[in-house]
């Protein structure tokens, strides 16, 4: 499963780095504590969060995550979009709650 395929099946909007959405997803991590993801996010994970701060991008880049999904209808901050573009980290968003996004990812086989 690639980021692009998951984005299409979940109807996620793409806010940055659409050139990098063909990378493979290895699973997902759900957390709003960035320190938790720094310690526990695994390479290729898709990260579901309601945080929108630009620190998200550095944490995702550090851990080699495949994409960030901002759930709950929150808009990514402008500097977050710019950083994601710079770092080539796909930045996606959903109007669904984080719980629903995680459930849908599980349903389409991201486990």
């Amino acid at each position: 499963m690639t980021v692009a395929q998951a984005a299409e099946r979940l109807g996620l909007s793409v806010h940055a780095a659409d050139g990098a959405i063909d990378s493979a997803i290895t699973g997902a991590v759900v957390s709003d504590l960035l320190s938790y993801v720094m310690a526990n996010g695994k390479r290729g994970n898709m990260w579901v969060t309601i945080q929108t701060h630009s620190n998200l991008v550095a944490v995702a880049a550090l851990g080699g995550l495949s994409a960030i999904v901002i759930a709950g209808g929150f808009e990514p901050a402008d500097d977050t979009v710019a950083r994601a573009e710079e770092e080539g980290i796909p930045l996606l968003a959903s109007a669904d709650a984080a719980y629903t996004v995680a459930g849908k990812l599980w349903e389409i086989g991201v486990r």
Binding site: D32, L34, S35, N55, A58
Partner: protein, 249 residues
Amino acid sequence: MADRVPADLHVHTALSPCGSEGMRPAEILLTAEQRGIRVLGIVDHSTAQNGWAVAEAAHAFELRVFVGLEIESAEGVHLLALFDDARAGMDMDAVVAAHLPSLRNRPDLFGEQLLLDEWGEVVGTDERLLAAATDLSVEEIAGMTAARGGMSIPAHIDRTVNGLLPLLGFVPPALQVEAFEVSRHMTRSEARARWPELAERPLVTGSDAHYLDDIGAAYTWISAELAEAPTGAREWGQRLAREMTRSGD
């Protein structure tokens, strides 16, 4: 240590829902003075309304009082915004009020929020849910504080609940604050050992007192000269930062 005096920049009043009803101006000031505290920061969650009462009452004490707020950012991070006087504090109070959710406090769940006068008499209650996050980023809060002549200090940066480092992973590069507060559960040298990025950062400690007995439970030694320095809060914070960079415990 005569040239050094203790500062506790993080003390709540009875207006904070989790604050004891005993946290009234004279009692706070008497306790602080008895414990040798010379500089006090008075903050409540999302509001500075009781700050003026404490600042008024402080004229009878040998204490310098900064009036401020403990503001929760959209990311869940708590920041202290400290000002010279109640007027500047109330200006920030109005800004924060416009960025809080419109929820009402449930005293049975969160506690009473008592508005006090300088004599410690209850003059009302704040009906809003003060223990709530604004929709402002940490950078926006620090910027608005600076624009009003105040100093910003992210509170208890080591704590998983509302602390900057667990929530945001690291100090955002664009964040401009005067100092960082380590909670009383950890020493500053322990914090620097755990987070190497703090090595060159100005660190302070504060009690985060919600009860009289906790006032001064953690404090920061500052120079007596700084304690008395007749500068505005922002410049005072910058001088504090110079004293606290690489300082130990």
